[in-house]
Symmetry: C2
Subunit: 255 residues, 2 copies
């Protein structure tokens, strides 16, 4: 298989190359990733400045660094670097979970979503930061998951968002197929005063409250399960669509 690997932690990230090491044993793997960390960048794309592609050697091996976002990397990889579509796009291993409402802010998840928008199968993979950082077993797991994905198939426009719990691998109790949790973040801004006596704000490292139900991504992780959530690109709320048709919104502008 031809596999495109990317991430949002940047091309030098350990988790990216842990995946490359295992997947390249059996597949043709291309590493095309942002030249620096892009956490919180969401599904942004770069329109106001040009993009550069640099083939560089990292501690993990050779790859293509792009001065853009994870979504830029997938777009530019398919259009220019690879010159053809990969069989699958894998984004990660992210240093930090991507669950619940954080799916909106995650560059890791958005890279997989960008692939899904193009109809390419995709997996986003993230791990809760742990002191041990055992990336190799996660890479082994992704290698088997990829076989399942290609064998069984995913609907066009749907990708898998996978998260690995914080515990040592021996404590992982299994896999849960989950839904995205919806608990809001506890927003915090740190208000500070600069040396010119002007106010500025740091967006806080928000404490994410996980949904408790085991069928949510966060709930499964709290119980030491690997969480796999199928994520769809279609954002339409079909139930509300039916209700809206009964609203009779007045079209005053034509009056």
């Amino acid at each position: 298989m031809k596999i495109l690997l990317t991430n949002d932690d940047g091309i030098h990230a350990e988790g990216l190359w842990a995946l490359e090491k295992v997947l390249s044993l059996k597949h043709e793997v291309f590493v095309i990733a942002p030249d620096k960390e892009q956490s919180g960048i969401g599904h942004a794309i770069t329109l106001v400045r040009p993009l550069r592609v640099s083939r560089i050697q990292t501690n993990g091996g050779w790859g293509y660094a792009i001065n853009g976002t994870p979504a830029d990397c997938v777009k530019l990889a398919v259009a220019e670097v690879l010159k053809s579509r990969p069989d699958i796009v894998i984004s990660g291993i992210n240093h930090g979970l991507n669950v619940g409402v954080n799916l909106n802010y995650s560059g890791t998840v958005s890279a997989a979503k960008e692939a899904a928008l193009m109809g390419i199968p995709a997996v986003a993979i993230s791990q809760s930061p742990t002191p041990h950082h055992e990336y190799s077993f996660i890479a082994d797991f992704v290698a088997t998951l990829v076989v399942s994905v290609m064998d069984k198939g995913l609907p066009s426009g749907t990708f898998l968002n996978v998260n690995i719990p914080a515990c040592p691998k021996e404590k992982i109790v299994g896999i849960r197929i989950t839904r995205q949790g919806i608990s809001p973040l506890q927003e915090t801004f740190h208000k500070r005063i600069d040396p010119r006596n002007q106010v500025y704000y740091w967006q806080g490292v928000e404490k994410q409250v996980f949904d408790h139900e085991l069928e949510t991504d966060g709930g499964a992780l709290c119980e030491n399960y690997i969480s796999i959530t199928p994520v769809q690109c279609d954002m339409t709320d079909y139930k509300t669509m039916k209700q809206l048709k009964g609203w009779d919104i007045p079209l005053v502008i034509l009056a």
Copy 2:
């Protein structure tokens, strides 16, 4: 009502102040918007540098400019500037349609999504660029739509994505409740050579192919309807969730 107005075109944008002019006749309106254009920024949030809030006078009136993304503006507005939750968040009037897969890249839409994630009712409003720029009738329409939204209510986590067709207002034939189109963009990168003989790429202004069905956002706009799509924050693909439970993914790492 207490209304928060924002956008992704920046605080000086004409469309933003056209809304303010009409909505402030009957409501308490706060304009809190990015200090510059943020097109393509998606749902990015700013984590690696501090945010500033500046109360400034624009051609349209007084507002708060923030050196961040549309999602930052909503977060910081609720947490620090307003010190309380607005009754509704309105994002726009965007200069350019936000339909189909472009919902992922749009800062306008993401500002409304950020509000919906907090459980605040929200509307994103965009117009196809036209030579005439008749924003005032759109503002009138939004003023009536807002009354409907507050009267009938939206489910928590769902907001409305509204688009106005390119035709003069007299040619608008009505309102369609639509789903998000899923046609992929036609990706183009413009490859150029800089004076140092190095390659760089501009991400092209992608020609968006609209879905033709009248029940899609793009299809309705092509027929001169105003398109209203209810968008939900929950990205779970519930149908695929059921299928995945039958996959029996091997958990090799525990072997």
